[in-house]
């Protein structure tokens, strides 16, 4: 077992913290914070996975993931502040 | 018209950088994607595109990146200390900060920089005032905390984006 593998498992394990916040969060905003942070953590997972497996396309997946999660967060933030999406 | 052209060139360069191949098919796809993006979002782009051609701004940008990274690392140790301390020394609040710069792009960049630095998140901009959520409100005097929150970056941002 490589040191990088251990780091990869720790990084994947960190998403449990975000899941805790998503499940237990007292309000909708707490859940959204959890989702937002989870989206950034996935980029780190993809980057370490690219180093461990040596496949370069995983970085592309990370970039696409972070942009999609950004759009999702903005949509939810607009929604809870009570506005239409084109304002 | 000029701004559409500038946005087209920047988007195409970004596409080539992100795919990193110079085959004909890739360049044609890039031109198509950049054209669609330009038609959709060109009207939101900056007005004075001549600013992109002044090398002085890039020199300041380079200096600013190092200042910003240093502040960012300091911010992280600060946050880590507050999180790991058993008693959690936090004193949060939303404060009012006076802005010294005018243009929209510069204000956006200032707000982004403030969000990444020790204990502050930009909440809203109304007129000349920025509202900032601060994790440890260390002083009651508006002068002092305006300088503490935005003073470090304002002169760089002014040189780069104004």
């Amino acid at each position: 077992m490589d040191f990088l593998h251990i780091l990869l498992y720790i990084q994947i394990g960190l998403s449990v913290f975000c899941l805790y916040r998503i499940i237990r969060g007292p309000s909708i905003a707490d859940r959204m914070v959890g989702i937002d942070i989870f989206g950034i953590l996935v980029v780190g997972i993809c980057a370490i996975l690219a180093v461990v497996t040596g496949r370069t396309f995983l970085i592309d997946i990370g970039i696409a993931w972070v942009i999609l999660s950004f759009i999702g967060t903005l949509t939810l933030a607009k929604y809870i502040s009570g506005k239409k999406l084109n304002e | 018209m000029k701004r559409y052209l500038a946005l087209f060139i920047i988007t195409l360069l970004f596409w080539l950088l992100i795919t990193l191949s110079l085959s004909l098919a890739n360049i044609i796809t890039g031109i198509a994607a950049a054209g669609v993006t330009t038609l959709l979002f060109g009207r939101y782009f900056v007005r004075k595109v001549g600013k992109f051609l002044e090398p002085r701004r890039y020199a300041w940008l380079l200096a600013y990146i190092f200042v910003f990274l240093w502040e960012c690392i300091k911010a992280n140790f600060d946050v880590a200390y507050r999180v790991l301390h058993p008693a959690m020394p936090i004193k949060p609040g939303i404060v009012r900060v006076q802005l010294g710069i005018q243009s929209d792009l510069a204000r956006t960049m200032l707000a982004n920089s403030i969000t990444m630095t020790p204990g502050t998140i930009a909440v809203d901009v109304v007129g000349d005032v920025m509202y900032v959520h601060w994790i440890y409100v260390s002083s009651e005097d508006p002068e002092v905390y305006s300088r503490k929150v935005s003073g470090r970056f304002e002169k760089y941002i002014e040189k780069i984006f104004e």
Partner: protein
């Protein structure tokens, strides 16, 4: 070797950010801790990838991801703070000051 150290530092900062996500009392402080620390941790991981591979395609893509991540993290943090304030989530009990309230109620 240097790349492994950078990646380890990044994972450590991500761990601090996630502990903050659990421990801090209200949504604004959680966002404070999480957005900064997790973003810098992920930058550190990406720089580790760049150091390991140099300027070939994977390294350049990791370098491009850094400014993208900067804009994504800060803009979504701002949108979340403003959205949850307008939604009516109060500041935590420890809060000492709220200048935004009078502006918002106008």
């Amino acid at each position: 070797m240097a790349s492994t150290i950078l990646i380890a530092i990044g994972v450590l900062f991500n761990l601090f950010g996630c502990i903050g996500l659990i421990r801090l009392p209200d949504v604004y402080n959680r966002l404070q801790s999480a957005t900064k620390t997790v973003t810098l941790g992920t930058w550190s991981i990406l720089i580790g990838v760049l150091v390991r591979y140099g300027f070939i395609d994977i390294g350049v893509k990791a370098l491009i991801a850094i400014p993208i991540l900067f804009f994504v993290a800060t803009v979504s943090a701002h949108a979340l703070v403003r959205g949850s304030y307008i939604f009516g989530i109060p500041l935590g009990k420890k809060s000492v000051k709220d200048d935004y309230k009078e502006q918002y109620e106008k």
